[in-house]
């Protein structure tokens, strides 16, 4: 393998691994969950990204084949990393109920909005409606579903 390729692969590996380490360190160092959330979702993503690119280059240079698996892995990571961050944040907000949230223009944040109403309803009337939703006889999608914007 050409030294350039070697250097490139090595550099990518080192960069990737470093970011992985930094991300995990951020998880240790940052003071609260919301801050910590910034660390892994980015640093580790690039960490894996570095390793993946290194791998692609390595196998491209070594075997002359472009390995798509790395691309797929990247695709999945990019698709899912925001999702996990989003959910972790929601879970944290739900359990910690931060008081300093800015309020959106009309309805509240979806973690809380309707939540109060639903909870009240639940305390009065322990069986909120639709069995139809449960059994799927009405195909009405969930409120925020993209199929009925």
């Amino acid at each position: 393998m050409a030294w350039f390729n070697e250097l490139l692969v090595s550099a990518l590996i080192v960069i990737g691994a470093s970011f992985a380490l930094v991300g995990s360190w951020g998880l240790v160092r940052l003071p609260d969950l919301m801050s910590r959330l910034h660390a892994p979702t980015k640093a580790t993503t690039l960490g894996v990204g570095g390793a993946l690119v290194a791998s692609m280059v390595y196998f491209l240079a070594g075997n002359g084949t472009l390995s798509v698996h790395e691309l797929l892995i990247t695709l999945f990571l990019f698709l899912t990393a925001p999702l996990t961050a989003h959910f972790l944040a929601k879970a944290w907000m739900h359990s910690q109920r931060p008081g300093d949230l800015p309020q959106p223009a009309q309805r509240g944040w979806s973690t809380f909005d309707a939540g109060e109403a639903e909870r009240e309803a639940a305390s009065d009337q322990p069986r909120p409606p639709p069995l139809s939703d449960a059994c799927g006889s009405s195909a009405s999608p969930p409120p925020a579903s993209p199929s009925s914007p």
Partner: protein, 89 residues
């Protein structure tokens, strides 16, 4: 050269995993611990990729692929559980 880089990567990622473990212990909230595990999964993916480079084998990619595809499912499920109790409504 690559060999050195790989060894560095092993050490760095392993250290990262240990940091994650610390967060798993320390918490304090459940969300923190879920975050720690989620990060662990990503570090493990990196580890597997580097191992693939070291061994020159593509045999292990599917493991990384599945982790990438489904690692988040558990995390989302945990969060959904914290949010709603019922993860499939």
């Amino acid at each position: 050269m690559i060999e050195y880089a790989i060894h560095y990567a092993y050490v760095a990622i392993s250290l990262g995993l240990l940091f994650n473990l610390w967060r798993l212990f320390a918490g304090p909230s459940t969300t923190d611990r879920v975050l720690a595990v989620d990060t662990m999964v990503i570090n493990v993916i990196a580890l597997i990729i580097v191992y693939g480079i070291q061994t020159g084998s593509t045999m292990y990619f599917e493991a990384a692929l599945l982790l990438a595809m489904f690692g988040f499912v558990s995390t989302v499920a945990y969060c959904k559980f914290i949010l709603r109790g019922n993860i499939i409504e």
